[in-house]
């Protein structure tokens, strides 16, 4: 499989690998995928005043999956939460020039950021 230079760059120098404290109320964690399918992404965001100030990921998966999650963490940093909600898998696939067989990796990255935001929002509900 021939990868684009951008995929290789993100794979070899992944941005924002790591973890945030998931018990922190300002942190949202999304875990998507399944080991049996060959990819699992964990994406975390830290939100202050409606803006994502930090993002971290860990990914089990192929090079495209690692690159997709790395790219998304790069994009969302400094973004408003509602803008991050608008990220589409097609934008990720286009940026990384993913081949058709790897489009599901970008879908997973979109799911991961949405799941992280949903988790963050759930934590903000008062009275739980």
């Amino acid at each position: 499989m021939a990868y684009s230079d951008k995929v290789i760059d993100h794979y070899e120098n992944p941005r924002n690998v790591g973890s945030l404290d998931k018990s922190d109320e300002t942190v949202g964690t999304g875990i998507v995928g399944a080991p049996a399918c060959g990819d699992v992404m964990k994406l975390q965001i830290k939100v202050e005043d409606g803006v994502i100030t930090d993002a971290k990921f860990k990914t089990y998966g192929c090079g495209s999956a690692i690159a997709s999650s790395s790219l998304v963490t790069e994009w969302v940093k400094g973004m408003k939460v509602e803008d991050a909600m608008q990220i589409k898998n097609s934008q990720i696939a286009e940026e990384l020039s993913l081949p058709p067989v790897k489009i599901h990796c970008s879908v997973l990255a979109e799911d991961a950021i949405k799941a992280a935001i949903a988790d963050y929002q759930k934590r903000q509900k008062p009275g739980d």
Partner: protein
């Protein structure tokens, strides 16, 4: 340590042609270029003689008679000819074939084709070590069985099947026995008499010969095997396989077989030593690594291991200076993980995490050590990036999690 990269550890896929083989082939392209079927002039005679010498070499390596060797375009054709040829020729006797779930696609897809045309096929399961027993084969044979086809050694794992025992079962029950010996031919001793093999597929490029040449051993006596030809034409190869012979290719195949026969004891000992070194050092250097397939009943050069909590393709990407292959779905067009490893009971996760490393004639100890270092380094890097590894470190049982399949 300086090692020349890229390093080739994919000898089960194909091999470089041995320089001795190339030297032997060269004259047959533009000097002795005759058609082996031309009986009227010296060009033809020279080509025919070269082909017959090669045939002799192929036969010698397996204790067969030269007349029992049919040249083909490769092992895929050999497997097609063996299975379809027997099924068609014996269709009045029966329509049942016994084979394994872990066979190469050239066997499985040929069997599936026959199923669409009225044949019945039993696909025997294998044990976790990748092996089938002769008893399983015996139990599967019925009154309508015309052929048993069991591979000698698996291409992904190198696991050997109990060929002599299966051959005996087949002869006792008077059912023809075909074995796809592509991986085993030239690597370990094979004796078609002692092992009761009736038909056997072989390939040149797996033994340092050229691509595009294969052969089929077809037993002539006790029992005499007859095949319905699948390629019709000039009646070459005793009518088994028509088509002008690939003389340079066949000459190369013969030379490759000769070298394999003469060097086998020394070479296989050397390759086993390197494979064991690779296996043992990886086990030492990396935790949570498992060997796929039998540790004892395996070809000299094969090593198939799973590196848990890492996806195989991402590891291949890290090992970009090393040529090897993975059972991961992501390396295949179908996105299905290796059916061979799945059949051995590996879960999808472990199948996704597998690497096949195959060692051969030109592999050096330095290369092996370099690859171990490289794998150790990148497994660590990728695990540090793996959410599964993190969970395991936190003491979470991955099986307790409800994963959303996608």
């Amino acid at each position: 340590m300086t090692v020349k990269t890229p390093i080739y550890l994919d000898y089960a896929a194909t091999c470089p042609v041995d320089p001795r083989v190339v030297d032997k082939m060269v004259p047959y392209f533009s000097q002795a270029y005759g058609n082996a079927a031309s009986r009227t002039h010296a060009f033809g005679w020279a080509a025919e003689e070269a082909v017959e010498n090669a045939r002799e070499e192929l036969a010698k390596l397996i204790g067969a008679d030269a007349k029992e060797i049919t040249f083909t375009s490769g092992a895929t054709e050999s497997n097609n000819l063996a299975i379809k040829g027997v099924a068609e020729y014996l269709h009045e006797q029966g329509n049942h074939i016994v084979t394994l779930v872990t066979e190469h696609k050239a066997v499985l897809d040929t069997c599936k084709h026959l199923e669409r045309h009225g044949h019945e096929v039993t696909y025997l399961p294998v044990a976790p070590d990748g092996r089938v027993t002769a008893q399983q084969v015996a139990d599967a044979i019925g009154p309508k069985t015309v052929l048993v086809s069991v591979m000698f050694a698996n291409n992904e794992t190198g696991v050997l099947q109990p060929i002599a025992e299966i051959g005996k079962v087949c002869h006792d029950k008077q059912v023809l026995f075909h074995t796809d010996a592509v991986q085993a031919y030239g690597k370990i001793p094979i004796d078609v008499e002692a092992m009761s093999i009736d038909i056997m597929s072989m390939s040149a490029h797996k033994i340092y010969g050229p691509k595009g040449v294969g052969a089929l051993y077809v037993r002539r006596r006790r029992p005499r095997v007859r095949l319905a030809p699948q390629i019709h034409g000039g009646g070459h190869e005793r009518g088994n396989r028509s088509g002008t012979l690939n003389v340079p290719g066949i000459v190369g195949f013969g030379e490759a077989a000769r070298i394999a026969r003469e060097d086998m004891p020394e070479e296989s000992a050397r390759i086993v030593r390197l494979r064991n070194r690779l296996r043992d050092r990886l086990r030492q250097a990396v935790q949570h690594v498992t060997l796929n397939g039998s540790e004892e009943q395996v070809l000299p050069g094969h090593l198939n291991m799973s590196f848990e909590y890492i996806e195989g393709e991402s590891l291949l990407m890290a090992l970009k200076d090393v040529a090897l292959s993975s059972g991961s779905a992501c390396t295949s067009a179908s996105l299905e993980p290796s059916y061979v490893l799945r059949a051995m009971g590996l879960n999808d996760e472990l199948a996704h995490s597998s690497l096949r490393m195959t060692i051969g004639r030109f592999t050096t100890e330095q290369e092996v050590d370099y690859v171990v270092e490289l794998i150790e380094k990148h497994v660590k890097r990728l695990r540090d990036m793996s959410p599964l590894w993190e969970m395991v470190q936190e003491g979470i049982d991955l099986n307790s999690i409800q994963w959303a399949a996608h």
